[in-house]
Point group: D2
Chain length 265, copies 4
């Protein structure tokens, strides 16, 4: 049940963020408990008093090394293709990886991806050798474009980042899965509960990226384990083939008029 | 993370049905894979050609013995308190257990429990020494009555049996949990997907009883494992404390105007 | 498009409450604007400083007279069959009507009807000559019982009273409509928006009873008109036959490869 | 309660399509019954045996003249900016109007607008003097772009065209309304029931465009009236100020322990 991203084989289908944890130590424990091997990080990270800049980065590098996984720099907070491309290049240099979670924010209220700027930035970064994982809305045509441009991984949102609203538009998400059967689809942003992640996997998604749902839980380490199990449950459920919904009730115990010990006499 | 039902401690929070499987062998494997230690069975079971009546019962007894668990006879298909009480007494004699999943069906279309007959039957059976697990609707007052009568376990439905519609009315289910904090609450009927079971556990339910969702899956044995994991994920998530939903987006990476390596200079 | 309740023909399918308005004058205007001819009132009404007890009742009688309609006393706040029956008899004497909206509350949190006490009170009141309109939950078996006892009108809830949550469980409500085709079904409690009332009518319900949604609107008089139109829209929609939902998109303009002016050449 | 579109004041907030009706006569009656003054039409219309091409157009022109309204040519079925622009110019010439419902389809399954091609076509057509009403997805950034380009009217979808699924993503639709307070917002595509249209208006939308919901009803003429009323109900409801949803029940009749006639003694 491994996930392959740009040729890398990973043991977990969970991708996890590194922000908003109560402390670096809890972050480390939560990441390790999650089983995730892909950890996102932003260069534009807000400066925590006790752990500013490079220290946090070195700390994270150590954590990722323990997972035997990959650091996934992101361009969170960028509002134009140009800004994102610039930051991406800095990230590549500093973090020594061509993997990139590409975010270009288009609105300050819902913090949604800007579809136009996202396409522009994706084109430039792919041409420059990046392995782009674009964070996008649940717009099929946008996802198709990004895939056609050469992104092997597409990451539509479930709902606005940090809301914990879960899967706002299951119809759109199912349509994307159906129409892009070859793409690696990671559901990104808006996941609130383990059951949300489980549902995404039951739809046939290849993975889930989340941050707040773990970092803001009362117990982030335990919640990380909960998500790890929820993804496995959902994946198993998808492979095992979920029963069809039915409009009318069906007895699980079809009955005859007489109990069996009378029938057998 | 064990579940206690009428003083019995169980290793799994999943209760499972024994009907509708493709074959007895697959049923056995699915039950064992689920980790469940409580298996429901109806005396009024439809007569399968190759495994009629007592044979099936003996087979099931063996399976339950392997789980080190309990057989839970049910009164599926009964339409009156009187009929259910009669069948319950037969079941106790044959299966040598005073545990009983009490079903009294009130309508042929949605196969819902009849609240009035259910209360009548519950009173009589509790007085007669049964340990009653009543299958009921998601009506708080009905659940409260059953609890006040002495049922330690209450089993509201998620949706009509066999529909796989999942949790039709989360508001009602959450209200029951909040108002009956001491009762052992098992969600029963209508579960379709592992994420449904996960969601029930995230709400603080003590367990889930299902049958069709496993038996009618393309691969019942794998689906049984999926549900086992989904329940664990949901329970962990409940204990770990799910984040609050928020109406507006929040960046998981709060950003400053300048990347940290500039800030640090 | 008239509604018949216990032999009375009414011009409106809206039944309206008389509580929570900013002032008696606004209440009067709102009731008149709604077109409703059935106004509910409780004897156990909280005593407004400026309009205590009998004054409010006389005022309401005048309003109802202007609608050429009926006063519908209710037993809001009663918690047992006995209490409700006593209050019903007082109401009949004072208000000179055998119509009764029967409420027996079973829980202080969700203020839901108590199905057991409701049946007991219904039996006694029908036997005593009352024309009972029972407020009940969306439980099909309970609705069927009340209908079988002789209630010509059944009033299931949409959601808990005063929440404005709208139709919590459309499946249950649709099932009740389908299974009780002869009963007059009024959706009662929980309506928040005109679209909720419209949806109820599209399902084939015979009417809607509401109070908070009008009384707590910024402009109760205008909201009363909005609901009057919404009910008419929903009823027309039901009679006109709503299109089937479809899973896949269908062009409303099926196109050929060439525009028609080329086709016609 | 009039609607202004590109300076034209209209008496109805409903825009209606001219396809899929059982007959031209029923189409005419339905349009007149709807009260709509804006009727969409496609040059690429499928050729009905009895009413091919120009005949249908002349017939529609007559109907629109009777409404004292406007014909709104659309580019349904176009799959690229280029194709849409070409068709738009033909439409302007033939129908003698610079109004245009701009559709550029991006996927054959969900028939959704292509956000990229849509922007390209919008730019060209606005520059060429068209009054563009773009049909788009419920993507806030896309809507913002179209508005910034100079479209006074924006028409996001409710759900895929012809599905009748109603408002798939209320969160997105509410966000667009909140973030674009000055734009004229018309909900377009996916409307199935009058209550869907009512809900859109309650959200503060300025109008609704639909076709299948009326044309495919059992009785299109009656359904047209139903929608006309539903829009008015929703608009009134929006202006009147819908009550806040509440999580817990609130009695509409707050009660004291004693009835008022005792209190007054």
């Amino acid at each position: 049940m491994s996930l392959t991203i740009y040729g890398e084989q990973l043991n977990s289908r969970l991708l996890i963020g590194s922000a908003l944890y109560p402390s670096p130590e809890i972050m480390k424990q939560a990441i390790l408990a999650s089983g995730s091997q892909v950890v996102t990080l932003s260069l534009k990270r807000q400066n925590p008093a006790e752990n500013s800049g490079q220290k946090i980065w070195q700390y994270l590098q150590d954590v990722v090394a323990q997972t035997n996984g990959k650091l996934l720099p992101n361009t969170a907070g960028c509002k134009s293709a140009k800004e994102a491309v610039t930051l991406a290049k800095m990230s590549r240099e500093i973090f020594q990886t061509d993997w990139l979670k590409l975010e270009v924010i288009g609105d300050d209220y819902n913090l949604q991806p800007d579809p136009i700027e996202l396409i522009t930035a994706t084109e430039q970064l792919l041409a420059d050798g990046f392995k782009v994982l674009p964070y996008c809305t649940d717009d099929l045509v946008l996802c198709q474009r990004l895939y056609d441009l050469g992104c092997q991984v597409i990451m539509p949102w479930a709902s606005p980042i940090g809301t914990g609203k879960g899967l706002m538009n299951p119809y759109n998400l199912e349509t994307i899965r159906m129409r892009l059967p070859e793409a690696t689809l990671i559901l990104d942003a808006g996941i609130g509960k383990p059951s949300d992640a489980c549902l995404a996997m039951e739809m046939g998604y290849d993975g889930v990226l989340l941050n707040s749902a773990v970092a803001l839980a009362d117990n982030p380490v335990m919640m990380a384990k909960a998500f790890a199990q929820a993804l496995q449950a959902g994946e198993l459920g998808y492979v095992a083939g979920v029963m069809e919904q039915r409009q009318t009730a069906h007895p699980s115990t079809p009955t005859l008029d007489t109990p069996f010990w009378h029938q057998n006499s």
